[in-house]
Symmetry: C3
Subunit: 250 residues, 3 copies
């Protein structure tokens, strides 16, 4: 029985609970983990970033149910992508942009209606399609049963930084609970600072505790990317930082 | 071992965790699902609506623990209602208004103190009474052991729309995370539009993605009722919609 | 297989999900309960209070993972404290101030790197250290394997009320979802009222429902301490009450 990880923009409220009800109705012994539900409404790119930096902590065999889905009920496809020994269920809207072609074992459409709930709404496929299909997968149903095999899927290049003139430009992809502004600039190398608009952040530290009070710092965040933080405060609020803002290496 | 579903107005915070601690102390193998904890504080009607539209997704045998309980510690009764193959624990305050007499197998008071925690506070019966009783039920304790059988319970008619002059009037019963205003007007038939106060919502669509930007729409929501939505935005915030507001069919 | 209880200031978002991913990778059958994640960012004292009043509802053998950790990545120690038949993992920053010396069986440092994730960030020890160590403990690893035995740990006296002139002074240690201001003044005896600054709260009731509208009351809260509440409203918002404010017995 595989682990099922839920990653949505449903926030608090009765949507996640309904998905779990369906999951446990169809796979009574499933183990379900809430990965995140706090993605900003319809923020596909934020969801893609968070998934890209967290899936590897889950064991092989995990079924990820990723639902950030502004196109719910339209003709957009739903995908089952096998990669890295896991299965990712998601709408074909860029949410799986982080899975490179070389990692993909195969891609199937999710279209076998007998696996869905008997009644499918046009507003909540997380409950009516994703949950029963994930339950089936966790019980060993082969992905080939879900639908036709297809070649590729939508990848949104904005998930990745660009390089020009030797420096990279990325963006803020997540504001966390502490007000830290997380970028998509990998923190593997060194950096002299980050720039957002005209503001330069040049104070680079290793831990939150090293930051002086009231002066924002740059540090290697736990997602493996640079982030901007403010000690005992919210960098995002203090500097009006928002998801989507471009960030340049200084 | 039955599934236990928790439906409260406790929000984030340490109350739900305490209930789970007691549940697992008394039924170590219980499977617990958070249905919702986001109901507005003391909003019995909102809780009743959400329960009414979600219980059916849970498997038969589920024990629902419904705690929206402004009268905690007073002489209001606590009920165990058997209906539709499930058991509903709730204060007798209207939270189970959606269970019609014809569906009820029986109703018992929850009054057997030996099933409660040894010390019962007057402010948190969710932990001190509901949780240990639900644990007992999930382990197979017969509802007759909980207390006397009674005939009926409080039903609040405001949960249901009224009909006058061929048109129905209901109300907003829930604002979801996306700012969608959910009504209690069933969306089984057709409608020409909805009116709230002097404002008329006449643009009816099938999916969120069909909505034009900046113009609110009406659509069949996933609760099986009409809801008002705004694409990429919060209809509730944009139009100051709140739980309890009357909604008329146009 | 022991129960694992998580108590953090991580709020909503992807941090708790990552901890669970690591826990279940290392202890696939672990049972995990969210005790709270809603503590104000970096509010060690609030976390200590909530833990002090909730641990006893968990069964013996529970492993508590307490992460309110502004010093993450610095030289502060991580502790494994055995007390009351449970194990508490926490940074040595006062979060375990509520465990008195007489209750402590032993204290070990958490320093055996082979138990950590292979890569340890300097910003998220909850995932990289606490989670894999808790998984090991839940599977029966002896605390002696975690690291050296030490004598004591940091206890912050502000967790407890002080007595002067026959009256006690404590503080507000938690604002709950309903806006109730929870103090650390035990409600075992009687009290004539509470004072915060120049304001006196003298209306003592037994249940929330007994409170008159628009007039704040004092009552015995479910944490076993006095709290200030406002019927159908938020006492904290109405009176600008905040965590940390001193509260005197009247």
């Amino acid at each position: 029985m595989a682990l099922i990880a839920l990653a949505t923009d449903f926030g608090e409220g009765p949507y996640v609970g309904q998905m779990k009800a369906v999951l446990l109705s169809h796979a009574p012994r499933a183990q379900i983990v809430d990965l995140f539900h706090s993605v900003s409404p319809q923020a596909v790119l934020e969801g893609a970033f968070l998934l890209s930096r967290t899936w590897a902590f889950f064991p092989r065999g995990t079924v990820f149910v990723a639902v950030v889905d502004p196109g719910v009920g339209t003709r957009r496809n739903i995908l089952a992508v096998r990669a890295w020994g896991r299965i990712f269920l998601a709408p074909d809207n860029g949410l799986l942009s982080f899975v490179p072609p070389r990692a993909v074992l195969d891609v199937h459409l999710v279209e076998t209606r007998s696996l869905f709930l008997p009644t499918v709404s046009s507003t909540f496929h997380g409950r009516d399609i994703f949950a029963p299909v994930a339950a089936a997968l966790s019980r060993g149903t082969n992905v080939r049963r879900l639908g036709r095999k297809v070649r590729g899927f939508l990848r949104d290049g904005r998930l990745f930084p660009e390089r020009s003139g030797g420096r990279r430009t990325g963006r803020i992809v997540h504001i966390d609970r502490f007000g830290n502004a997380v970028t998509n600039l990998p923190s593997t190398g060194a950096v002299r600072g980050l720039c957002i608009g005209r503001r330069r952040y040049g104070n680079i530290v290793r831990t939150y505790a090293e930051a002086p009070l009231r002066r924002p710092v740059v540090l290697r965040g736990s997602f493996g990317t640079w982030e901007i933080a403010l000690r005992n405060g919210s960098a995002a609020r203090a500097h009006a930082l928002r998801v989507g803002m471009p960030v340049r290496e200084a």
